[in-house]
Subunit: 360 residues, 2 copies
């Protein structure tokens, strides 16, 4: 039986601009079948948790303009489970809103906070680590994170350093959080063996996270606590909207995790990728013998190491192309060197400056 | 006043597969605005001749399936001026059909035979050379060609060698025709100074071309002569269809020009290109400071020497691309190294083998 006190808060407010032109501000990454597997990322995330978290305990926090997308892609969710942000305020308000809301109906809740748009290839390992963490957080006043055993000195991820111990619990006390490091630093992290990648997944009980907000973001704690009467009532959205407009823009990592003393990490390898760029989609896709990955119909000649994404019914032919991202949509086509994939954000900015919302 | 005996036969039966995916078997190159100038190639060709050839004397020979395209793009033409081939049989039957047909109503006709899909940048030079040729052909039993002063040892064109003389007529007797030569040969042609490119434009009187067919392709002469009663009658198409299916598949160059003794050439420079490939379109298009030519909306970053063609309303973004042809249509996208542009024909063949007529 699934534990009725276990809850998931799926964060789905991002706009995924590094996945332009597929990801658009009106239809972002998490609502696309980025891997071409027949389900969108948020659907995969939802179904992953549904296996061991009661469906009515799965919540999604997203921008108000994605309400329709969530409703259509996750029809099992009730409106009470879809939390709408009027403006993006980073992850701390998102967590506070969900935690204070759910706390109203279940003060014994224990939460998993997770992104909507990551890849988890080894579902069983993930489930085991998650249940380990949930059980630990139910019985102790601790915040748990999941840390990915690093396989390369990636400079695109945050790192978590933990203190080794011989208690054999499967989790360790966190020493430091480090945001995206320089290559040399990342290399030393990898060598040291006591750093893991921050997968952006956090676990805690309702009481623990309330205490943490009260300690480190007391104003935000007050703001979301003061509107408790409105949660699960027709007044909720109005009150939340006011609160959001007034509250601080800050991440849960910076606002709480890096400051709290009771943070632990479960090192794990569950086939994780944040699917942060087309390059990581390429890595996690089926490829031909020349390292070309194609979603949609593509014929390639003398072409190597390309990531191609197109729409149904379209035929793509490559001849002599190497190391490129090719993404074709109805109104926009991107052909970008894979090494330059971080530049896509700037392209989106430029297009917005030139054409407004038309292409972004 | 335009000379009522001057006629043009525009050959428009090709399928332009090197311009895939824009050019399709149902909608080939000559019916597209390949240069992005607001008119299709056949419209540009038609209007060029209309300035000095009576409109009712302009004939188009094309495949029967392009009848609708000709009618809609050249609405001034009557059905009698649109000659429909049931099957492609190369250029000799095409010329014979038009010449024998027009000869029926005007035995004093003098013809220009010209492709429908070439670029002529210097219209006035072209007109002067053409009228020089028409006048020469009206008064002498000769076949005239237009030869382009070569600017590079191009191995993609045919060459015409002429005999220099001091008669100062503006045209010279042709010594040899050479099909696409090897590079070394082309270089020696360029050095020698008595070779010009074969632009595929021929001029002759009705009587001269009839005599030539009777001498070198006597069976074909008989075939098109024997159905003379049907020309300009409701029976024409049926008779022509039978004749075409029975007649030889041969080019006018090989069947007549290379054999006749009375062929002359006017060397000229009228800004000619056969627009044979996307590369030649690139050369003849406006380019940015990094040699990118774009038809349609395109934004380029760190990209050089590309030819981009897309449809209305589509935004193309390039980052880090160099030396490519990018052609995007509703159902197909080609990204092909410019150096490999001759390979496009094979791509079309492969697609046909795999998907039938769907994408070609």
């Amino acid at each position: 039986m699934n534990n009725k006190n276990h809850y998931v808060i799926i964060m789905a407010g991002g706009i995924g601009s590094r996945f332009w032109p597929m990801s658009r501000s009106k239809f972002p990454k998490q609502f696309h079948d980025i891997l071409g597997r027949g389900k969108t990322l948020i659907q995969e995330t939802f179904e992953r948790f549904q296996a061991y978290i009661p469906t009515e305990n799965i919540y999604v926090v997203t921008n108000e303009r994605y309400k329709g997308l969530v409703q259509s892609q996750l029809p099992e969710m009730s409106d009470d489970q879809i939390l709408l942000e009027p403006v993006g305020r980073n992850t701390a308000p998102c967590v506070a809103y969900a935690a204070y809301k759910i706390n109203k109906i279940n003060p014994n809740a224990t939460f998993v906070v997770a992104p909507s748009d990551h890849l988890i290839a080894k579902e069983e390992v993930f489930r085991d680590k998650l249940l380990l963490g949930l059980n630990a957080c139910e019985t102790q006043d601790i915040i748990m994170t999941l840390g990915i055993t690093p396989t390369r000195p990636d400079t695109g991820y945050g790192y978590i350093q933990f203190l080794e111990d011989d208690q054999n619990r499967g989790y360790y006390k966190v020493k430091t959080f480090t945001e995206k490091p320089e290559l040399e630093v990342a290399e030393s992290f990898l060598e040291s063996g006591d750093y893991v990648w921050n997968a952006g997944i956090f676990l805690f009980s309702a009481s623990t996270i309330r205490k943490a907000f009260e300690s480190f973001l007391p104003e935000m704690a007050d703001q979301f606590d003061s509107i408790v009467d409105a949660y699960y009532t027709p007044q909720e959205q109005e009150e939340v909207n006011k609160t959001y407009r007034a509250c601080q823009n800050i991440s849960i990592d910076f606002g709480i995790m890096e400051k709290a003393e009771n943070v632990f990490v479960i090192p794990a390898d569950f086939g994780w990728s944040d699917l942060g760029t087309w390059g990581s989609v390429h890595e996690n896709s089926e490829r031909d013998m020349h390292d070309n990955a194609a979603q949609g119909e593509a014929i390639v000649y003398d072409s190597f190491n390309n990531m191609v994404r197109t729409s149904d019914g379209k035929m793509v032919v490559l001849k002599g192309l190497e190391g490129f991202i090719v993404v074709d949509t109805e109104d926009a086509l991107l052909i970008c060197k894979k090494d330059d994939e971080q530049f896509i954000k700037q392209i989106v900015g430029d297009l917005k400056g030139k054409f407004g919302e038309k292409f972004v």
